[in-house]
Amino acid sequence: MIGDLLLRTLRAPNRLVPLASLGGDNAAGSRMPEITCAAMTPDIAGRLAASCPTAAMRSGEEAAGAFFELDYAHCIGCGRCAAAVPEAVGPARSLPVCGVQRARLTRRWNLATGAEVARPPLSGAALPLVGLWPCFDPRQRTPAGAQGVPQLPRCAPTAVPELPRLDRWLGRAVNIRQLDAGSCNGCEAEISALNNPYYDLERLGAHFVASPKHADLLLVTGPVTRNMEEAVRQTYEAVPAPKLVVAVGACGCSGGVFASSPAVAGPVDRIIPVDAYIPGCPPTPAMLATGLAAVLRRR
């Protein structure tokens, strides 16, 4: 019996997605939005903001004039914006902002010019490489508020500035401990899919471990519920330093649809320091894989 099964396994077509093509359509099937109109007008911005149930799309005013913002941290991929304003929004095929700092999840358009505001470098110096893991660079550790991006109060960054090249220190292997801080299990289903024969995360050197004591990286899903708050802190403490924390999903990044609940303590970065964010509701396995690849500098 097991012989028959193994034979079938060996005869099955190879479905492995090459790493190089993972990012190309990593958002397919997630319904994360992409802005497709040439110019963002106040009218479009207003209709988009009105269609969004989680305030991922919002308009605002600042000294430089009116602006429109798309914050992927809050986006649940419900498709309402694309249904309401099909001429300006469509489903994204590729979402590059996976495994990035919180501020990078927010895009902004100047409503006077209709153009997207080029993102200012996070700390004055230009980022040297696409996919460079910025959290390891102590220069990047300035408070995000300095760029005028609305930010949640966050925990202090992980205290490892003396190891700016933690990625190199980790070599080609990283042990990941997945931690559910109160999620709906949608993210868990997609994280489990990382081990299937399409994505095979172990080829990145990444391996899911059973104990936080074996882990280098905590992959945290869900809004942190008040019942899980203490367990999340203790799990974080149990991971030996140096360690990385990646918040996953709309709930992990921003609290998602549960942000205002009294039974919820907040997004992950209210409870423990977070190094990188992977948005989505849930993120597709390809978004998770490209996000983790960005974290591990395997791009």
Binding site: G77, G182, I191, A193
Partner: protein, 480 residues
């Protein structure tokens, strides 16, 4: 008075009459509280096998008689009503707080004068604490085992770590704005939750979604079941060390998820169901592609599962392990595949067909053994039935629109039940001026979790992961 009469005497009169009307007591479906327009009340939902559930509304005095001594399935329901609405249930054998155990002032006060877990003492008894953080990509919950050697002699669950106050968040929302929240009650059953909620709204509006929308909902619901059963069966084999099966099952799942993404633009069917219909209308070519993917996955799965179940190392672990007797299933009012593997014939797709299910003739499989093997087999049988329903529906695709407009400012109450992959899922909804006044969610996991210890106690602790997986309940769906 006999002990039974004493227990009955404590109940509110309306409930007492309902409980003793027939020789066999009804199946307890749900108990929930409501602050209500006419003052606080406690609602009891009972099933007598009729077309409709029987609903009994009892005015919530500060103290009500507990139903738990007569029906163990009432235990968690009454504890939740107490936590959220303050009603005291006199005679409840275990009135500890359920929901806010880690932070609630009420919980702290109640815990002060009683032990955190039921004490089990004696020579040679060891207590094993597991969770809330488990070893794997799993949701959080706490299991407290008392063992003698390898033998589990007692098991207590402490859940609600993922309690997010979803029902309170729903209150006040516009009816049409609530679907993203109900889709996040239990992420792997998100379409079942969305459809149950939408059907409740549609009932209040007095409309039916167009036939094409009903057909797409059926395809989505059965695909969700197929995915759940393929994944569960793979993981179950993985738990007994039969490694090829989880790898093969995860590949079949991904084939289906990708086919979904091509057909509907979403892997998980989030955002598809809305009150009045659905948001997508896949063209014939994409429906054909989905049909091919489902057919291929089902054929492969049936072959693989047959091989796995004939493998001695799997067979010997599954056979006779984790038996949930028919009596225990009835006492805990278990639902879904768990109940059907213990001889209960409860399947809402047959008992109360709605939407496109009314056009389908089929007999859901029922097995009597109640062990892990029966729960594994029932998943294989149901997976093939789901594929058959999907293919038949796709082959006979109705014409027309996919959405009817739902009037604004709806008033009234609705109750909708959907057979989700884990079993009977209920949404009890009250709208006022188009906004949600109260939405009570009874997930199949809330109903089935308390039944788990009866299948575990008496077995060896090393079988627990496998038995737990054979139930495969949702923590978030239970905790909400």
């Amino acid at each position: 008075m006999t002990p039974r009469e004493e227990k009955l005497a404590r109940l509110a009169p309306a409930l007492r009459q309902a409980w003793v009307r027939e020789p066999e007591p009804p199946r307890l479906v749900s108990i929930f509280g409501d602050t209500g327009e006419r003052g606080p009340s406690v609602h009891y939902l009972l099933d007598r096998g009729q077309a409709d559930y029987e609903e009994i509304e009892v005015e919530a005095a500060t103290e009500l008689g507990s139903l738990t001594p007569l029906a163990p399935a009432a235990a968690w329901h009454e504890r939740e009503v107490h936590d959220r609405f303050g009603t005291v249930f006199a005679g409840h054998p275990d009135p500890r707080p359920l929901l806010g155990h880690a932070h609630d002032a009420l919980a702290a006060a109640a815990a002060a004068d009683r032990p955190e877990f039921t004490p089990v003492a004696g020579e040679g008894i060891t207590e094993v604490a597991v969770g809330p953080v488990h070893a794997g990509i799993i949701e959080p919950g706490h299991f407290r085992f008392s063992t003698m050697g390898d033998r589990v002699i007692f098991l207590e669950l402490r859940h609600f770590y993922t309690h997010k106050g979803t029902e309170d968040l729903l209150a006040g929302l516009e009816a049409a704005a609530a679907t993203p929240l109900v889709e996040s009650v239990s992420g792997d059953n998100c379409l079942a939750h969305a459809v149950a909620y939408c059907e409740a709204v549609e009932q209040i509006a007095g409309l039916e979604p167009p036939p094409r929308a009903q057909a797409l909902r059926l395809v989505g619901l059965e695909l969700e079941r197929l995915l759940a059963h393929v994944g569960d069966f793979g993981a179950l084999c993985g738990d007994v060390g039969f490694a090829p099966m989880p790898a093969l099952a995860s590949r079949l799942k991904e084939d289906l998820l990708r086919a979904s993404a091509r057909c509907c633009g979403t892997r998980t069917w989030r955002g598809v169901a809305i009150p009045g219909g659905v948001t997508v209308d896949p063209p014939a070519a994409l429906r054909q592609e989905l049909a091919h993917a489902v057919e291929a996955a089902e054929r492969e799965f049936a072959t693989l599962a047959g091989l796995a179940l004939r493998t001695p190392s799997v067979e010997m672990r599954f056979e006779g392990a984790g038996v949930l007797t028919a009596g225990a299933a009835r006492d805990w009012a278990a639902v879904g595949p768990v109940a059907r593997a213990s001889g209960a014939s409860l399947d809402l797709r047959r008992a109360r067909p709605r939407g496109a299910y009314r056009r389908q003739a089929f007999t859901p499989p029922i097995l009597a053994a109640g062990d892990v093997m029966a729960r594994a087999r029932i998943r294989v049988l149901e997976a093939s039935l789901s594929a058959q329903l999907i293919l038949e529906t796709l082959a006979d695709w109705p014409a027309g629109a996919v959405r009817h407009p739902v009037p604004a400012g709806l008033d009234g109450g609705g109750l909708a039940a959907v057979e989700s992959p884990r079993g009977e899922l209920l949404y009890w909804l009250r709208l006022r001026g188009g906004r949600i006044l109260r939405c009570a969610i009874r997930s199949p996991s809330f109903q089935n979790w308390p039944a788990l210890p009866s299948a575990v106690i008496g077995g060896i602790i090393a079988d627990f992961p496998m038995i737990n997986k054979s139930f495969n309940l949702s923590y978030s769906g239970c905790d909400r």
